[in-house]
Amino acid sequence: MRLLALLQEMAAKRTNAVLTLLGNIDHLEAEHHYPESSLSFAENRWRAFYHCHETTVIHPKEHGHFHIFTDIGNRIWAHVAGLSIDHEGQPIQWFTVNRWVTDGPWLERDTFPAQLKHAATDDKEGNLVARWLVALLQINRDALSGLLIERDEQLQLNLKGRSKVEALHDRDIYTLATQSIDLQSMLENHLLHKPPRTPARTLNV
């Protein structure tokens, strides 16, 4: 319900999360982080930024993506997931990447549910994009837990006799797991209890 209310708020302004985040910028620059110092939310326990790559394509219909991080203690930020956005500002896919892509510590998947509880304390009057991200994270809690499991399984499959640390720095491994998003189906499932259209789950290396 919360996500729908946020979408209705954006719909009334004929905007979406990315356009809201970009504001009135003159030029959208590839590789640049928006906002530059990242978006802090959930009492500064979560951070995110949006960017577009010049060359790397995570999804064929992608315009750019959010990277979402969580504070695992002492202001050490671990990457949780990426969120691909299409050219009309719609979320189309969650993804996880290898450690070298985002740097920082590797998020232990078992800590994710507890980390997400912190996001639940988000201020209702806070930034619209932050509230939209929190709502998406919460409604996809199970899917994201599954994604992190697949991330770890995929990494394990690619050890090939190496240590985990070596594999985490292997630049031939970029995306580890993806999970498609059908926003309308997701909302219908949660609010109207319609069975979801089965999302395609793929593993990419």
Binding site: L7, L28, E29, W77, E88, G89, V101, L192
Partner: protein, 75 residues
Amino acid sequence: MKRNQTRIIVGTAISAAAIAVAVDHTRQRLPEPEKQLAGQEAVIIINEGEALPGENNDDCVKSVSSGRRASPCSL
């Protein structure tokens, strides 16, 4: 008098149509990204006897952009 002939349903009705409208109205074209601007060239004036930049300290040469090349999606 039949009390239950009419019922007033209080609340917000959520329908598939309402969801579709909300999602559809947020479909707004995003601006196309432009290529990353090339690093700005700068003229560095070095006084006689001063060390060249980066000559004595490799850390000074490390830039944010090189950090992002190493980890393109880091915070």
